[in-house]
Every structure is written in structure tokens, then in C-alpha cells.
Assembly symmetry: C2
Homo-oligomer: 435 residues x 2
């Protein structure tokens, strides 16, 4: 709109035609008039590449040049932008993005693993070439959180962020609470329903959420993306018992991705936490994602929406394409790569907060005295204690919540408690997060 603008179409090559690729083709076709009006020129697909040309995808590919090799397409297709929807941090996905940028094409990707591992190098390459590298679809699906943090909240230093960034885990935890069933059981069902992968490791061990957190942390704190800085714990160890106690105590258990600027540096963590029922993320259920940010001028913002699926993810991909079509190229992580500066990482040990602890105890005389002594010696103080059954000699769960305590001190106390012969299994700890 500034100055006369070329009305030549933006040509797009798409690598990877799974759910999101097919969804992107559909949005570009269905919304062509809208997108032309918003972008100032048509956005058209020129080429596509996928492993299997013949696979039925519900979209017509006949108008697009076909490439068996996505890297070849990234280099040679007649395209202004290459959309990378292959996935994975290495191999063809990385090669496609490097080839596209090397050949002077902008890149749009939904690939959080790639950015978490190689974000800085790719951003450097894009910057050298004066190209855009956009990835709205990589974090929180249909929530425009990348744009919000990169542009909408750009006047702020972000003090903390809390996100539900993995729909699979949120679906499992929601279903466990609603049905009272245990983790393995709900996971199997989620796999059958297609909500969890055959190999669910990345999701349920928190790695996918950590990839996304590392990206958001870079945007929030202007640090180079650094997956190693994230302490990661997944949800495998969350039992129906813990979910039940959480409800009794007035909490929800959520897998949160969290970053917080403390005295010792930036704490970055993915772990299950208990949040109060009145916390902004307590009611984000099922496949929804959400992010809560605290900025110094703007205060708290909450962003919620669908975290995955063809429509929401394609919506994010196409929003990036419109930015590129308009020539609105912003630095990959909000500031030039040279302005990204590493900051110290605050170790989890230093975290001061409240905790939920579940012990599985053989109920014999003296057990409580042992527990109480271990806590006292580490200056850890108990807030509440709940014991459900009391058949002497049987295993009973004992649940405590602890007042504000340093994580290191609590871990030392629990190491001692866990060594007692009255403990049937290791103590289970879940952080209680107030925000």
C-alpha cells in the first residue's frame, strides 16, 4: 500500500503434503479472493513435493509442478517462498530450508524441532540474504503467538511466560481427570484416536513443548534459541491418584512450558505443574493450547486457541505468507541475530515455590516422625497433609503440600525420606505454580 506495489502473484512451493500441507492448499484455494485483498496480490502455489505423489489427499495437485526431491524444488522451482512442512530437526527438512534460503527464497515452516536445534543458524542465513523465515505454525497452532510476541508486545520486556503447548499431553491429562483412568490406558486410546503418535515420546516426555518453549524464550528475552537450557520433565509419571488429589486440593495438573526471569538468570522448564482452579490456564482443556505472558508495561496477556489440526495450522502458515506477500519481513526472533545475547540459565535447584509431594508409605509407627524430621532438617515446612486410608501395615498414599521452599532443599529432604524402608516407591513431586 505504501508506494505503488507490484501486483505479481506471490509464488509458493510446498514441501510436505501431510495434513497441514493439504490444509494449506485448501485455505489458499478457498480464500483466494480474501487473501488477494489482504496481501495486496494473489498468493498462488507453483510447486509441491512429497514422498508419495499418488496418495489421496482430497486436494487437486494437477496445477502445480511436482518434484520428487523437495531440496531440488527448494532450489529450482519457480517460487518466492518455500513452505517446509516435512518435519524433523535434521535431514530433508533442514536441507530444504537451507536450500531455499541459499537460493534466495523466503521460508515458512511449521517445524519447531528444526528451529529449536538450528534456529540461530537459519536466522543468520535468512538475515544475510535479506529473507524472511517465518514460523507462526510451529508454536501453538492457530494462536498468533509468534506475531504477538515479535510485534504486538514488542515494546515490553517479558518477565514470565507460561504455556500449554502440547495438545497431546493436555488431552491425556484432561481425559485422565474426566474419566479417572490411568496414564497408560488413556495414552493407548489417544493413539487409537490419532491424538497421539505411534511413538509418543516427543509429546509425552515434554520434548515437543520444550522445542516450542525454546523458541518463545528467544522472542521474549532476546537470547539465542537454546534447547539445552530447558529442563524437561514429561507426564509419564502422573498417576490417576495424583490427578485425584489435585482435584481434592483445588488444583488442575497441566504440562506447562514456563520461563521466568529470576535473579540468577532465565529459568526455562517444561514439567507437569499444579495450577489453582482460578488460574488462567486451569480451564484450557483437551486439544487447546494457551500462553500467558507478563510484560513490564502491558501486564498480563492470555492467548488461547487450537494447538494443532489442519485448519488452525494452515491458518498460521497462510498468515505468514500474507506478511511475506506484503513485504513485511521482520527479524526471525524479533531482533537481528547479532542482538541476541545469551543470558545465564537459572538452575531448577534455585527455584523457590510450593510443591505437592506424594509418598507411598507402609503405615507403621514412626513413619511420620521420620518424614517430619527430614523436612525440619532442611527447613522445609508443610502446608497441608492428606492421608486417605489407615489400615495398619498397608500401603497408603500420603500427600503433602509444602510452603514456599527452595527446590534443592526439598530434593535433599525427599532423598532422605525416599531412603526409608517405609517408602514403597520414590516420592512423587509436582510443582505448584501460582501465576
Amino acid at each position: 500500500m505504501n508506494a505503488p506495489r507490484s501486483l505479481s502473484p506471490l509464488k509458493v512451493a510446498i514441501a510436505g503434503l501431510g495434513t497441514v500441507g493439504a490444509g494449506t492448499i485448501r485455505v489458499l484455494a478457498d480464500q483466494a479472493a480474501l487473501l488477494t485483498a489482504r496481501a495486496g496480490r494473489p498468493v498462488v502455489i507453483s510447486a509441491v513435493s512429497a514422498r508419495d505423489r499418488a496418495r489421496e489427499r482430497g486436494v487437486d495437485l494437477s496445477a502445480f509442478a511436482w518434484f520428487d526431491d523437495p531440496v531440488e524444488m527448494a532450489k529450482r522451482a519457480e517460487a518466492d517462498v518455500v513452505v517446509e512442512l516435512i518435519g524433523g530437526s535434521e535431514g530433508p527438512a533442514k536441507a530444504v530450508c537451507e536450500a531455499a534460503l541459499g537460493a534466495g527464497r523466503h521460508v515458512v515452516t511449521a517445524n519447531k524441532a528444526l528451529l529449536a536445534h538450528h534456529g540461530v543458524a537459519l536466522a543468520q542465513l535468512a538475515e544475510e540474504k535479506g529473507l524472511g523465515l517465518f514460523y507462526e505454525a510451529a508454536v501453538a497452532g492457530g494462536i498468533p503467538i509468534i506475531k504477538a510476541m515479535r510485534e504486538g508486545l514488542a515494546a515490553n520486556d517479558i518477565h514470565s511466560l507460561h504455556g500449554i503447548l502440547n495438545g497431546t499431553c493436555n488431552y491425556i491429562l484432561t481425559t485422565m481427570r474426566e474419566t479417572g483412568r490411568d496414564f497408560e490406558d488413556v495414552l493407548s486410546e489417544a493413539q487409537e484416536l490419532g491424538y497421539a503418535e505411534a511413538d509418543p515420546t516427543f509429546d509425552i516426555d515434554g520434548i515437543d513443548a520444550a522445542h516450542k518453549l525454546a523458541i518463545l524464550v528467544s522472542l521474549a528475552y532476546r537470547v539465542p534459541v537454546d534447547l539445552d537450557a530447558v529442563t524437561i520433565q514429561g507426564i509419564r509419571h502422573i498417576s490417576a491418584l495424583d490427578i485425584d488429589f489435585a482435584t481434592e486440593l483445588g488444583y488442575r495438573i497441566k504440562l506447562l512450558a514456563m520461563a521466568h526471569k529470576g535473579a540468577g538468570g532465565i529459568e526455562q522448564r517444561v514439567s507437569p505443574v499444579m495450577v489453582r482452579l482460578d488460574a488462567p490456564l486451569a480451564h484450557v482443556e483437551g486439544v487447546y493450547n494457551a500462553v500467558v505472558t507478563e510484560g513490564d508495561f502491558v501486564g498480563r496477556n492470555v492467548f488461547e486457541g487450537r494447538g494443532a489440526g489442519a485448519g488452525p495450522t494452515a491458518s498460521a502458515v497462510v498468515a505468514d505468507l500474507i506478511d511475506i506477500a506484503r513485504g513485511n519481513i521482520t527479524p526471525v526472533f524479533g531482533v537481528p541475530v547479532g542482538a541476541l545475547k545469551a543470558q545465564p540459565v537459572e538452575a531448577p535447584d534455585g527455584h523457590v515455590g510450593r510443591y505437592y509431594v506424594r509418598l507411598m508409605v507402609v503405615d507403621r509407627p514412626g513413619v511420620f516422625a521420620e518424614v517430619a524430621a527430614a523436612l525440619r532438617d532442611e527447613k522445609v515446612s508443610m502446608e497441608t497433609i492428606v492421608q486417605r486410608a489407615r489400615d495398619p501395615g498397608e500401603t497408603v498414599p500420603v500427600v503433602m503440600t509444602l510452603h514456599d521452599t527452595e527446590e534443592g532443599a526439598m530434593v535433599r529432604a525427599l532423598d532422605r525420606i525416599g531412603a526409608s524402608d517405609a517408602m514403597v516407591e520414590p516420592p512423587r513431586v509436582i510443582r505448584i505454580e501460582t501465576f
Copy 2:
């Protein structure tokens, strides 16, 4: 970042130095290094104008050129952008924006009244000159909702939007519920505390929310901003009794700004509604604002944050300045003015939904029969009925909730009921909104 970029500062002239103006000066000073990194060049204030130069604002104005006349400043100051923070739909605010655009300067404004009344004409002027007209601060304070709708969700047609857009009303309704006090009482206190203006008309009669809704509707549906298309009802008639019944029935009363694409056109409405406790806006309390959008591909998104105040509003103003500094100029309402097309407006009469009705009745024999007959004749069916006291001959509140019914039919039934001599005051109606 595209191509070599000029590092010359973006020069900003600010008209109006109230809370938001002073806040903007503070953000630009405190965050100078961050903003330079994000914007690609310094963002500096060159000139300011306000009514009273001597007033203490807690910020140092000595480095800026002073203009007694903001219009003169808009025309003559050494500035790339003029920030209009005077307010009001006519007079100096309008003159400043017209003068700035006329003189080839971009405009950033927080002025929803101005945009609601003159948005199309101003957008036309900006477009003709190839200039930006940005207004993130005009709607929902610190929530980057304008950017989200204009860019983040740009691939979608929006089916519906629901917003809590007026912090004063939300504060009053929240306080009424928490304290059980009546409207006039809470309003007086809000005025003393500075949460409501001396003349609160624009806020409590829903006009401010309507200004904001008209802007969001333009972005969502690509229609010219049209305040006249909005049906407006404020919160003056909401009593402590209604709040109390709402809680009993499992609802919260909120002043919502709503738009919805129906068969007859776009329904646009500001009114108090009852929302279920599990609705996304039920727990948005006090001075917070929130917007829920439903897009065809992205599905539901929720955006929440502070709706007013120096920090959040300045955060929004400065985000716009960064866009301008980067040269990221998007069409004012998401598409060129020529692509905005008026659509039919769905009359409230045609709305089909559920309703809360409160009658104040002299409890004498036959009253219920009259009420029941009037409803039956209009084919309006009752879902629940609550009557609290039953001292014969006394005035008692009778509260009904109605099953899905056409608003027009309900209004006819209530006209007849209201004419009965058993009714002590006109029936009170609040829409029940499910979303």
C-alpha cells in the same frame, strides 16, 4: 532487514499528554535500546503538544519541540509519525489526524470514537497518500487484537466475535457481584476511584464498547466501519437482584460487544448478557478486557489482557510505531478501502436465543395465568421459573429463563405482560449467550 535499511531515527510527534501520552514518552525512553533493536532504527520523540505545558506529568519534555496548537504540530513539526491521543470523534483530534495525513505523516491513534465515526474517510486519506493509520491502542488496550485480526487471523473469515471491551462496565459488574451492592452505589465509588469518568455516559451506556465493536467488525467482515449498524444497550438497568439471580442460575452478567454472521446479515450488538460460568469470558473480571473470535479455519481464539491504563495502552501505541519504523504498513482495516463492502445488518428482532426475564409482580391470583397465556400465544416456551418470596399482595420478583425463542416474539409477549396491572415495573430482559 530486507535490503539495506536506513538507520535514521523515526521521528514522532505526540498530540495529547494525558495518562497515555505520558506513558508513551516513558516507554520510548525506558525501552530505547530494545525498541531500536526491534524497529531496526531509533524511535525518538521530536515534538509534543497539549493544552497545558506546565502541568506536572512525571516526564521530562525539555528535549521536545513544544506546540500550543496540535494541528500546527501535525502540519509543521519535524516528524514521520503523529500520535493522536487527544480523544473525541470531532474537533482537534480529527483535525490533527487529517492534518498529519495531509502533510504526509503516518498516524497512530488510540481514538476509537474518531475511527468509529470517521474511520473510512481517514483510511481513504491514508491510502491515497500511501501512509499508515494505526490504532492498536483504540481497542482492548494492551491486547494486540487489531494486529491479530488484521494479520494473525488474516486467512480466515470470522463467523462471530464476542468481546468484553469496556473496563469500566466490567469493573462495575464485577464489584456489584462481589459486594451485592446496587449499580448507582458502585458507579459513585468507581468515579471516586477514577475508574469511571465524571460523565460516565459513554462507558455505562455501551457507546464506548460500540465504537470498538464497529472497528472490530470492519476488520472481521471487511465492511466499512458503521457505528449506526450497532444496536446498543448499556448496564444502567442491571440491578443487584439480576446479578444475584444470575449467580443462582449459574451465569455471570457481562456487557458484551458481539457480532455474528447470520442468514439475514451481520448482527452487531452491545448489551449486557448472561454467560455460563464455563464460557471463556465468564472469568474475565474487573478492568480486564477479552475478545473471543471464531474463524472458519482457525476455530476459536481467546485474547485477554488489560483494557486500559498508561502501560498497556502505551505498549500498544509503541507496537504501532515499531511497525511504522520497519515500513510494515498494512491497510487500515486489513484490506484496501475499495475492498470494504457494506453487508446487510441483521435486526435484533430476528435473533433466536435464550433469555432471562425478570418481572416485578404484585402477587395476586391469576397473574401467572396471564403471563403463561401471553407466552403461549407468541409460542415462547419457559425453561425455568424462580420466585423468591410469597407474601400475598406484596411485590415479588419472578424470574424466568426462556428456551430458544425469536427476540421479536418475546418482545411482543412481554409488551402484553408489561401492560398488566399486576406488573409494578416493566419486564427486564437479559439475553443468555451461549458460545
